[in-house]
Symmetry: D2
């Protein structure tokens, strides 16, 4: 359960969560609700789930929220909730809307003193991303970005192994992310997700690379700690008439000489959600696949392949903390997602209790990760349009 | 969300759940809580989590329950909750205690008008099991047994395929269930689970076969629908001084001529939770492994191997209902467990609303499954002790 | 290349092989020829490939043998070859015929001073098997039985690990062997293999258990070194009108207390050649599957799963010797088969050169393995017919 | 057996093969010998195995060749063999030497009327490659290049499925080829293969891309039939002091708009011989891994994943012809290699018999494939050195 780690936590209550977006038909909205409440430390108390009051209310009733705490717009929610008694006010808001609205919503809630959990990519422009960094720094509030794939226990174990030298110096990183769901032009058939994700006004400058390329970039950075030096990108739109790319590949030169290949595609027939990473170092290598997330493959320069498994007593503290049931009892997507919520809300609790959050609690993607993701997208788009082979893309 | 399927469900509230057992250190207690609340339709309101008031209260506080609804014994809880106003009373109780206490607890709550979700094996004797059947029939209440493995979506799909003839006539069934956790005599080191699971007074006549053999038996029956005719069992205690068997194998003659092999063992070094089933029919075969639960392998008599995947649009309604996120986003143990709760509580809701539960809602293990499991254990123990090769074991 | 290990081997020539059986349409005949010649130390010089001279000659011509060394019966071949000059005479004969003819053919060639490589099961009766042991002992010649599955490198590695204590004391052995090829009554459609393998006069007292059950038994014995104490068998004929069983399961009590489950079936829809073994010891476990033969899975009581791979420098000498190409370059069925030939013919060479064969060369199944296989089949059939649960089956 | 398909083949004998290279310590030399003779249609009769007569003779004796047909140089062999009676002369020569010698050797034998089987990459310069094309065209002889990976049955099946529209229009191709063997600077320790493969004078302009990148390129072209339009390559030398790259990645624009990613690396810790390909089309996708070569994964745009298996009756004629044993009996590297020899030598036989080779026989990599591979290497090296992003690389 996600209580304060400290004995005698002064809070002694669930955190109060509001939600913007995540209405009917939003698969990820239900994931956020399950993930937030999985460990018992969070209560959903308010929402602006849809863009009409009627649809928002309908969702709110399904969730058994009182009508008075369900709103037709996030602005009304911000105002309405601020007007409630202190003991009812939101501790944090989850922002689960199309990309173009993340920035104004997150900014407004932060400025109102509300912590934020936000979907990725963080914003549609780098200017917005940098501005949001400023807001978070100014308010000192928690801002967590739901790069959920880096929250799987065995990903944390991989990172631990890199950090503790079990791979030696990392030389080569291969990250693949094939999906199939945009193989047909389903945005023309009214598929809600597809409509906004292929619309540059709502999704931003990139389609596939914004949606899943950012996950791939963040996963690689989380595990390896490597900084990108320069990139060479190729973006393609396979489906005729689609406004944003549905396929992309990036060659990467990392600072220090490592090499990377990252590709993401949403027209890969037969693929489901095939995020996978392979990290090769001078002394060892690891490989992990999101669709079999309870295993981490490890090779030392000599000797047999090892399969490390979630639940093993030999795992690092961060991986153990991110795991809820014994090995052999598969954990999946919702638990990984919940790990973001757990660490972010434990950090909020620490703040509310006036203590320093522990390093293990601070292990969630932040506004800086968000800004770097947006920067990556911008550079990828710039590189793809350029005849120059290598585009400097070092974050500063 | 687990509301009434019917439009305008009169209930409009979460079901109130009490819990007996599931205190600190109980891995399965936390699983029950997460599973029960995963879909938002259940609220934990009371508990007798441990065998002292102090430890029970400690758990209750972690769960943010008011002290007044946390009890030192289930009897006190039964009494205390019955004395509360009708709008606060328990809708159902989850029984998560050692096997020998299932019967008295379940009986008492049922007789008090409270629905029951109960851990397996249902009772330690067949007499108790049959008595409990009588109580359930007399009260007309819902009794759900947490044979969670049969609640995975792809298991439901396998059952659907058998029922719809895609395997032809089933001829051969192989069910394996290797675990390793009792390889050492950890009951001597105070391992809580091990202490009672190896104690015949608390676990019943069988150890391994009661704990996981019953899961294997129920999984096979759920998928194939086959009835056991006669069995030939071999039970072994590998760890010296252990009172109950830690390994067992059963040859099965099914009614109609199919053949089965079922083994369960808790001394299988390196195994985690290796439940797996292979069903061979005259026209097709399926195979499923609990540790990779999102896939179902299917072979027709001709042609290539197929891998059916959770989330696929080609799955049966029961499998689709048992799934929460798209394919490629792994679901696991907690979701399967939650499927028992969802169907059982939807059935309770239907009853509370005065409507007939739908077939899809009634898809959860019942008191009859529990009785058959206990019968299976008794027959296996009897067969293992007998010099007679084939012991009639047809349920009647 | 399969020369004498000793420097300056006096032989300096390929061994001359004759073949009985293995005519057109015999898949295993071609396997024997490829396996025998794969390492360059054997030359096929004569054959009685079929039961008419015409068909035998046709095969011989395809193989570019001179007509004069191709015969219509094995008796003619025995006589004809004996009449040739010493420098042309057969060193050994490969016997690739239905089971009922193995004994007379092998006996006759041995008595004529010709080494023998013989298909399994060795004979159709235990009396013949014991007689053949006598002949081999009396002649002192090499007799190798083609239990090829135990000749895979990673099987040798598994055996090495058991022998060297990496598994501790073996407690549990599970051997499975599902196939599908007899799912339909193809013996009625003239399928050559099926015709004789389902005919008790030619195949012996068992069908499936003789054909593949003996492989399973030998594989288990080879790896574990365990001796069977008593068995409890169940044989079933699923296909109506078939004369021999097409499915069998055996529970095993090994001397010393280990437990075994062995099943073999030829009606397992979708299966190909699914021989697999899992050996669980007190300190470690191994698992191997014939269809992925280049890998051996190993678990210690603590720590992660290991995958040992053919070609690894950490393998035992016997496994390394049985491997021809580096890891990652898959070896398969033919190479395993060739390992029997290599070791058997190197042993023959040693004899011909008057030196003691090395232990590594003597690593092939012998007439004693053959006799034990036939004994196993007889006991399985006896047990299956008996109402007695446990049938003593200790080899003496 | 690899006889003429035509009834009454006039040849009626094994083809006589000579070998240049493939001495002791050459793993691939033994592979060539096994592959050439696996199907019984080829006899090794002469060789220049090493660069001194003594070492060549030593190898020849191990192979039981008469000293008179073993030579110290290929020039002596060419001359010596040409001087023998017609009925002893070489039908073809296998060239298994470092890259820089392929051209002069192949040219000389072709000009002497001897068919050639040659290792890849074909030559070290494009000029040599084009010259060799001219020689082959002028002589009309068979020239086969041992791109053995495209000779696996399931690769042929993949190609068949692309050609027959089961994938629709191919949009995306991902080819990966990780190895680990050059992770350390073993060329400094005298590792024979490493010494010449990292020496530009002997290996050519590229290291890793020449050695295995050419396999990857040819595999992709064989399956998809796609033509490269332009490329963007990145080559890296990770091991300090090494003269040629040990890692490379290439982005590909195919003619018609498909996109490709190809990477090959020899510093991928833990990898063995990890060649794999994934081809995504508008209607289906296939995936194949060299280390599990008996399976081909197929996805249609709708429906479950299929696993097609070698030995299946549903495979294309080319795949069936390339397979020797039933499904479930694993075939591997040697069989794939032998498929090159079988088709190439059957084509030679057809020529010798004066008939047109069948399409199935002509299915082996030719001098044109070799030239394209060398062209690919040259363009990759050129692109890697260029600041221009996309380098035109269309073969003409």
């Amino acid at each position: 359960m996600a209580n304060c780690e400290a004995e005698g936590c002064a809070l002694g209550r669930a955190l109060r969560m509001g939600m913007v977006g995540g209405g009917r038909g939003s698969f990820i909205g239900a994931v956020h609700r399950r993930a937030a409440t999985l460990d018992g430390g969070v209560e959903l108390v308010a929402g602006a789930f849809a863009t009409t009051l009627e649809r928002s209310r309908s969702m709110g009733r399904e969730l058994r929220l009182p009508d008075e705490r369900v709103y037709g717009t996030w602005q009304e929610m911000l105002e309405g909730e601020a007007a409630r008694p202190a003991e009812e006010r939101l501790d944090f808001v989850a922002v689960i809307t199309p990309n173009d609205t993340h920035y104004p919503i997150a900014r407004a809630f932060l400025e109102a003193g509300v912590h934020v959990v936000c979907d990725k990519p963080m914003t549609t422009t780098l200017a917005d991303a940098r501005a949001l960094v400023g807001v978070v720094e100014a308010t000192g509030l928690v801002f967590a970005l739901t790069h959920n794939y880096s929250a799987y226990p065995m990903v944390k174990q991989a990172r631990h192994m890199v950090q503790h030298g079990q791979l030696g110096r990392v030389q080569k990183v291969v990250i693949e992310y094939p999906q199939a769901w945009l193989l047909r032009k389903i945005e023309d058939e009214g598929h809600k997700q597809a409509v906004w994700r292929t619309d540059p006004r709502r999704a931003g400058a990139a389609g596939c690379m914004g949606d899943i390329g950012t996950h791939a970039e963040q996963l690689g950075r989380y595990i390896t700690g490597l900084e990108i030096d320069e990139i060479c990108a190729d973006l393609t739109t396979f489906v005729p008439g689609r406004q944003l790319e549905d396929d992309g590949a990036v060659l990467i030169h990392y600072v220090g000489g490592a090499r990377g290949i990252l590709y993401a595609s949403q027209i890969c027939t037969g693929a489901e959600n095939g995020l996978a990473i392979h990290v090769y170092g001078t002394e060892g290598a690891v490989a992990w696949r999101q669709e079999a997330p309870n295993h981490l493959h490890f090779w030392s320069a000599e000797g047999p392949e090892h399969i490390l498994k979630r639940g093993g007593s030999d795992l690092c503290p961060s991986a153990r903390r991110a795991s809820r049931v014994p090995g052999g009892h598969p954990e999946g997507f919702v638990e990984a997602f919940a790990n973001i919520y757990r660490n972010a809300t434990d950090t909020m609790r620490a703040r509310l209790c006036g203590r320093e959050p522990a390093a293990l609690e601070l292990d969630f993607p932040t506004v800086y990760d968000g800004a770097r993701g947006v920067y990556f997208v911008e550079k990828v788009v710039e590189s793809a349009r350029s005849q120059q082979k290598w585009l400097p893309a070092r974050w500063a």
